[in-house]
């Protein structure tokens, strides 16, 4: 439960791009690049390097005890596997002290795949079980700076992405979505400058690996991503009563550098350090060595895919750990370590008993690749269909309402 008082930027700071002292390139994990030698990310090494803590069984049981229901499938199956100070949040919650959730998305493309939705699905679960408010930041300014998009295009993409986010099922009574370009205003800007006054350019270079050749905006953006961790950035939601409200940030582990910096700054501005709950990366259809990328439509299942597309993609592109022939499969069973359909089922199939049975049968050879893939297609189709139906019902008015600067009177109700 140690609230990591010894955690300083200098001590915990890995070299930005993951190179070791010898100059060897190991795995690179930062907000703009994720790659590893041999394809497989070593999450243990990553947790050690970043200095966060592993989310173990006892914490999951604590979740179940506090919330009174089964933990989310992503927690049970270890997709959300690391955290910072999560136990402090739970302690405070048990004492009656609330917190709020903060997550976000960089709207770089209009097409979202299931991997993009993972943090939002989990955040929705957290919102439902803890009954706490949520702010969602759409970093259209970041995409403008890094991807060279025009301001108008970034804004448009942000709005389109907001619709998909809303379709994940967030409760409008407790959710505030905002895009940086439209929300920049005195309260949040003042916090951004306060944060900026605590972090030197050297530190930014050390954390994010920027150089003087990079545009100045990139040096400034980390402060913008940090600001929503402090409740005073949202005075229309958090009155003086909640001026020191705690913050929990569900995100993928590559966002950790931003929030390491934020946690370093928080005590200096007399806020609680934001807590984090971090996820692994979602495997591409082609397996660990492949990368889920927007340019390769067959690397992932997109939320706009038809049922036929899903069937096609899984059958043709999902990397199988099964043997080459049916006879060999019956004899030796499948290699569950590399089999992508089983990995996907691990995250999306809620029924523990069924998953175990599939793993046993597939691993021993009683089940064939085709059968496993068929089950996966069923599961994915249900999820995608539900999302598409919800997405179709999202109107411009609804987006406006979610993004309106309005109070949330029953955010803890």
């Amino acid at each position: 439960m140690a609230s990591t008082t010894g955690e300083t930027l200098a001590a915990a700071e890995p070299i930005a791009d993951g190179r070791t002292e010898e100059g060897e390139e190991e795995q690179v994990v930062n907000p703009w690049e994720v790659s590893a030698k041999g394809g497989k990310i070593d999450y243990d090494k990553l947790v050690d390097r970043f200095g966060c803590q592993r989310l173990d069984e006892s914490l999951i049981q604590r979740f179940e005890r506090i919330t009174g229901r089964r933990a989310h499938v992503f927690l049970r199956r270890g997709l959300f596997f690391a955290h910072r100070d999560l136990s402090d949040i739970l302690d405070a919650y048990e004492r009656g002290e609330k917190f709020y959730l903060y997550t976000g998305r960089g709207p770089s493309s209009e097409s979202l795949h299931l991997g993009h939705l993972v943090p939002f699905m989990f955040t929705k679960y957290l919102q439902d079980v803890f009954k706490v408010p949520l702010v969602i930041q759409l970093t259209d300014d970041e995409k403008c700076m890094w991807k060279g998009l025009s301001v108008e295009e970034s804004e448009r993409l942000a709005r389109e992405n907001a619709k998909d986010i809303i379709a994940c099922g967030f409760d409008i009574e407790r959710t505030f979505i905002f895009a940086d370009f439209s929300y920049m205003s005195p309260p949040i800007y003042k916090n951004i400058v306060r944060i900026a006054n605590c972090v030197t350019g050297n530190k930014i270079v050390g954390i994010f690996g920027l150089t003087l050749e990079d545009y100045g905006g990139k040096f400034f953006f980390p402060y913008i991503q940090a600001a929503p961790s402090f409740p005073s950035s949202f005075p229309h939601i958090f009155s003086d009563k909640y001026s020191k409200l705690r913050c929990l940030i569900p995100c993928a582990i590559d966002q950790d550098p931003y929030f390491r910096m934020t946690r370093d700054v928080a005590p200096r501005l007399s806020y609680h350090k934001p807590a984090l709950i971090e996820s692994k990366f979602f495997p591409a259809l082609q397996g660990e060595s492949g990368k889920m990328s927007a340019s390769d439509p067959n690397s992932a299942i997109y939320v706009t895919d038809s049922l036929k597309d899903i069937k096609n993609k899984v059958n043709r592109y999902a990397f199988s750990g099964g043997q080459d022939t049916i006879e060999k499969q019956r004899k030796f069973g499948a290699n569950l370590e590399v089999d992508v359909p089983v990995k996907y089922l691990n995250f999306f199939l809620d029924d523990d008993a069924e998953l175990l049975s599939i793993k046993e049968k597939y691993g021993s050879g009683a089940m064939l690749t085709g059968e496993v893939k068929a089950r996966l297609i069923e599961v994915l189709s249900e999820i995608v269909e539900r999302h598409q139906r919800a997405r179709a019902a999202v109107t411009e008015e609804m987006v406006d309402a979610f993004m309106a600067v309005r109070p949330l009177p029953r955010m803890f109700g």
Binding site: S3, R65, A92, R386, M398, A401, R406, G413
Partner: protein, 394 residues
């Protein structure tokens, strides 16, 4: 929580509770014959606990805040399969006295301080007997400034912790009323073989292992907070108070002031003859608080009703229940009543498959409806004049 009936002690004994100064011997016969627990003490028939009265109807929504007795605590420990050694002895008010009776157990005696800060937040500091506890330093480490920690008022002991003077113990946190009391534990406990505490009374000491003690704390929903109590870091601008996270969020209404308000008195108490003497001075402060409780109770009910009606999960639950009830009754008309189990099983399967979709659709409905209402609200303020034309939205 142990669901035992509140033990209403008859009037004779409650007079005993009210005034410790009053002659106990006169009532001792009564007490012993009525309460077998008290019978087991062959000495001072001091009341060990004061059962909380039945809360008034309106606020019964809260969990019953019943005070735990030593026996109930020990029963709970047994339920949790925690092994402990128990030793009865005469009432002890200091650690030195306690050591005379239980020093032979070979465990670590604890000294327990019940403290409050300027904002009426409460703390129990449980330390090894020979750990130096400097309240000034702890106060700074908690972020309360210098001299922010004081001993809690005597009345808070029976009121909040439901223990008597000299019986402060971490076990008192099993009581609902103590939920906002923060607990700081000496990290030295972790390396001891046994830790010795009072189990809600200073006439008994129990010894249990540190890990079992942790187990107990976790069972009442507390995460054990072990602290190096002798550490004295410099707290300043660059070094924020390192124990600030242990400060409770809630301050409690401590019984204060000159008039001693007896712990068992409450608006709904039916013992009308109680406190004939003290009724006059306490009448005024009691009345408004009773009204306040009723009013806030009503508000709470209203707020809860609104929260229920906009709660998507509750809505879907009710829909599924209604549908399944009707479905089952229709099915029973058709087929035999014997396949009850199969029908239930089938229904469970149906519910599971349909839940996610129903939840998603209902949330969509809620968000759409809110969005429409929101815009209607905006339009109505933008166009206050009745004869202003509505601008069609593209």
């Amino acid at each position: 929580m142990a669901q035992t009936k509140p033990n209403y002690l008859p009037r004779a004994v409650s007079r005993v509770q009210r005034g410790r100064e009053s002659s106990l011997s006169a009532c001792s016969f009564h007490a012993a014959s009525i309460n077998p627990f008290l019978k087991s003490l062959n000495r001072n028939l001091k009341p060990i606990y004061s059962p909380a009265p039945r809360p008034p109807l309106l606020i019964r929504r809260r969990r019953r805040s019943m005070a735990f007795s030593k026996d109930q605590l020990l029963a709970r420990l047994q339920e949790l399969k925690i092994e402990f050694l128990s030793c009865d002895h005469p009432a002890v008010m200091t650690v030195e006295e306690q050591a005379k009776y239980v020093g032979h157990l070979g465990g670590a005696l604890s000294k327990n301080l019940f403290l409050k800060d300027k904002k009426h937040r409460l703390y129990i500091i449980s330390a090894l007997a020979n750990t130096k506890v400097d309240l000034k330093i702890l106060s700074q480490r908690l972020g309360l400034g210098k001299g922010g920690l004081r001993m809690a008022p005597e009345e808070a002991l029976p009121e909040i912790l439901h223990v008597a003077l000299g019986s402060v113990t971490p076990f008192s946190l099993i009581n609902e009323s103590a939920r906002s009391v923060s607990l700081l534990l000496d990290k030295g406990f972790k390396s001891q073989r046994y830790c010795l505490f009072h189990p809600l009374t200073n006439e008994v000491t129990i010894a249990l292992t540190p890990s079992d003690f942790d187990k107990f704390l976790l069972s009442i929903g507390r995460e054990p907070a072990y602290v190096d109590l002798e550490d004295c870091p410099v707290v300043g601008k660059d070094n924020p108070p390192d124990l600030a996270y242990l400060v409770p969020a809630e301050a409690l209404n401590l019984p204060g002031g000159a008039d001693k308000v007896p712990p068992t008195s409450a608006p709904a108490q039916t013992n009308a003859t109680l406190e004939q003497k003290t009724k006059q001075p306490t009448q005024k402060p009691k009345e408004p608080s009773k009204e306040q409780k009723q009013k806030s109770g009503k508000d709470k009910i209203n707020a809860d009703a609104v929260a229920d009606s906009t709660n998507v999960e509750k809505f879907v639950e009710k829909v599924l229940e209604k549908v399944s009830n009707v479905f089952i009754s229709e099915l029973s008309k058709q087929s035999n009543a014997e396949d009850g189990n199969i029908k239930d099983h089938m229904l469970e399967g149906v519910k599971q498959r349909v839940s996610s979709d129903l939840l998603s659709m209902t949330m969509t409905l809620k968000n759409s409806v809110y969005a429409q209402g929101f815009h209607a609200g905006i339009e109505s303020t933008l166009y206050p004049l009745a004869n202003k034309k509505i601008v069609e939205r593209k």
